[in-house]
């Protein structure tokens, strides 16, 4: 899923302080799972903002709404009737949702309420970690199912570097060295010999390097 984290409330206030009617718009997908932008967080942020404006002696209306998805036209249509009643929408969706909402409601300012962080998973309650950088050309079959592009601090395809120590990465003793994990997994799979196959230079044109990407699937187009 897409993992996001809450933005500091001061930053959100700085963006919305001059408005008087504001919609806090949550999303029921990834940001709900990572507890940054679902219905619960919409409620918490709305209360905090109401409190803030009350203390400032300002009469500001703050409404709450959470859509099934913000990255989908169909669900964004649900606020069609009300969207332009607001001076601004604070979207707690990921960066995709924020932009899709902004594209849909062209004349209403849409402000991000979270920082979109990475593609990752819930490792434990309150702990999310990165697993994928969406490079567009998956190499997991060759790396024991562990991704050096997202999990090695130097995205080394022929690792580990000389800084790997006690299974940890040179940049942080708390961080697993991706290449230690790869080697352990290859070992467990009885494929340690595969380690000696040199990974060729990667084609990054399917990555961010190639510019904004598109997936076109004519077979499923209407």
């Amino acid at each position: 899923m897409i993992v996001a984290d809450k933005k500091p409330i001061e930053e959100i206030i700085e963006e919305i302080k001059d408005y008087t009617t504001i919609l806090i718009l949550g999303c029921n997908e990834c940001v709900t799972v990572c507890e940054a932008g679902g219905k619960k967080e919409v409620g918490i942020l709305a209360s905090a903002l109401r409190m803030y404006f009350l203390n400032q002696g300002k009469d500001v209306t703050i409404d709450e709404r959470t859509l099934e998805r913000q990255c989908d036209h169909e669900y964004l249509e649900e606020i069609r009737d009300v969207a332009d009643q607001y001076d601004a929408i604070v979207s707690l969706a990921c960066g995709v949702g924020v932009q899709f909402t902004a594209e849909e409601y062209h004349t209403v300012p849409v402000i991000p309420g979270v920082n979109t962080c990475f593609l990752g998973a819930t490792e434990a309650r309150g702990l999310w970690t990165e697993r994928c950088q969406a490079c567009g050309e998956c190499i997991l079959a060759r790396t024991g199912g562990i991704c050096p592009v997202s999990r090695c601090a130097k995205r080394i395809l022929n690792g580990p570097c000389g800084g790997s120590s006690n299974g940890k990465c040179e940049i942080n003793k708390e961080l697993d060295c991706a290449w230690q994990l790869i080697i352990d997994r290859l070992d467990a799979l009885g494929k340690l010999d595969d380690y000696e196959t040199i990974s060729p230079i990667k084609d990054w044109s399917t990555d961010r390097a190639g510019g904004p990407r598109k997936v076109v699937r004519e077979d499923v187009q209407l």
């Binding site: 080394i156 570097c161 000389g162 080697i183 000696e196």
Partner: protein, 311 residues
């Protein structure tokens, strides 16, 4: 092994002589005198001199310019190049730039992570990794082609090196990793600083078991300790460094003002011991900001004078 480049270092090694290399860190400024002075101190005691490439990710004068300086002084520089800061366009371009000054050695590295340096908020590149950089230089030299496939007019003639850390984890992969670097085209290796001689010898044994010592020239990395404090720092703070406690104890056991001397003694003793290890083909003496000690170490270990090599 046949000589494939005009590199002085390669010729010394191919002649079966123990090679000596050292390294200079460029200054954090643009004063060329700093490099000239360091080079003058060591030039008669080494076969080639590495120039580090923004080591520990601290911004410095560039390795290429400093290498050109050395070349113009008549030395044989080793261009260190990390994949952290340049993509494949910049890497190939810098290789050609170096080749245009007949810089004949390159050491391919991934580089320390930028979080250690003065630009910890910066991006890193890592378009290719150090092993792929080895492949790239070999491709440019041996095929005379760019990665993109076009011909290079006057291809680079570089002797291609890489680093090896016999002490990094996981240990069981350190020899296969060397094999992989050799398969990528590495011709010489400069190792991480060796303090744990037993572990290094164990690594060399495994290297020999696979016959790798006959496929690559291994230069043992030596860095004399200036003090017990430095030894402790290296042990605790420098990633991938193996400093045994006995060494720290030995340094701490002599008065502070004598510790530097003790550090040199340890370095000399280590070289003497490693000279006997089959497959060690020379020494890479990295006296960090202590270049003036290189002559003493080279002399005391009987590695002076350096051989005359005809161009």
């Amino acid at each position: 092994m046949n000589v494939k480049t005009p590199s002085r270092l390669e010729k010394v090694l191919a002649a079966g002589l123990l090679a000596v290399t050292s390294e200079c860190g460029p200054p954090r400024g643009s004063d060329p005198e700093v490099i000239i002075k360091k080079a003058d101190l060591i030039k008669d005691y080494v076969d080639a001199v590495n120039i580090t490439d923004n080591q520990t990710s601290v911004t410095r004068l560039c390795s290429l310019a400093a290498c050109i300086r050395l070349k113009l002084m008549g030395l044989d520089p080793v261009l260190q190049m990390v994949t952290r800061d340049r993509n494949r366009i910049a890497l190939q371009s810098d290789i050609l730039g170096a080749a245009s000054f007949d810089i004949n050695n390159i050491l391919c590295l991934s580089g320390d992570h930028q979080s250690f340096g003065d630009c910890s908020n910066g991006q890193n590149v890592h378009d290719i990794d150090s092993m792929q950089l080895v492949q790239t230089v070999r491709h440019m030299r041996d095929q005379g082609k760019f990665l993109g496939g076009d011909d290079i007019e006057r291809p680079p003639k570089m002797f291609v090196g890489a680093a090896a850390n016999p002490f990094a984890d996981p240990f069981e992969i350190r020899v296969p990793r060397l094999a992989k670097k050799i398969a990528a085209g590495t011709e010489f290796i400069q190792t991480q600083c060796i303090y744990n001689l037993d572990k290094f010898e164990e690594w060399m044994k495994r290297v020999r078991e696979r016959g790798l010592h006959e496929k690559v020239y291994i230069l043992a990395g030596m860095t004399p300790m200036k003090s017990a404090g430095m030894a402790r720092y290296m042990k605790n703070r420098v990633p991938g460094m193996d400093v045994p406690d006995e060494l720290i104890k030995r340094l701490a056991g002599v008065p502070k003002e004598k510790q530097a001397e003790e550090g040199i003694d340890i370095c000399v003793e280590s070289i003497e011991r490693l000279k006997e290890v089959e497959g060690v083909r020379g020494f890479h003496i990295m006296a960090i900001e202590w270049e003036e000690k290189v002559p003493e170490i080279v002399k005391r270990t009987g590695l002076f004078p350096r051989p005359e090599i005809a161009d």
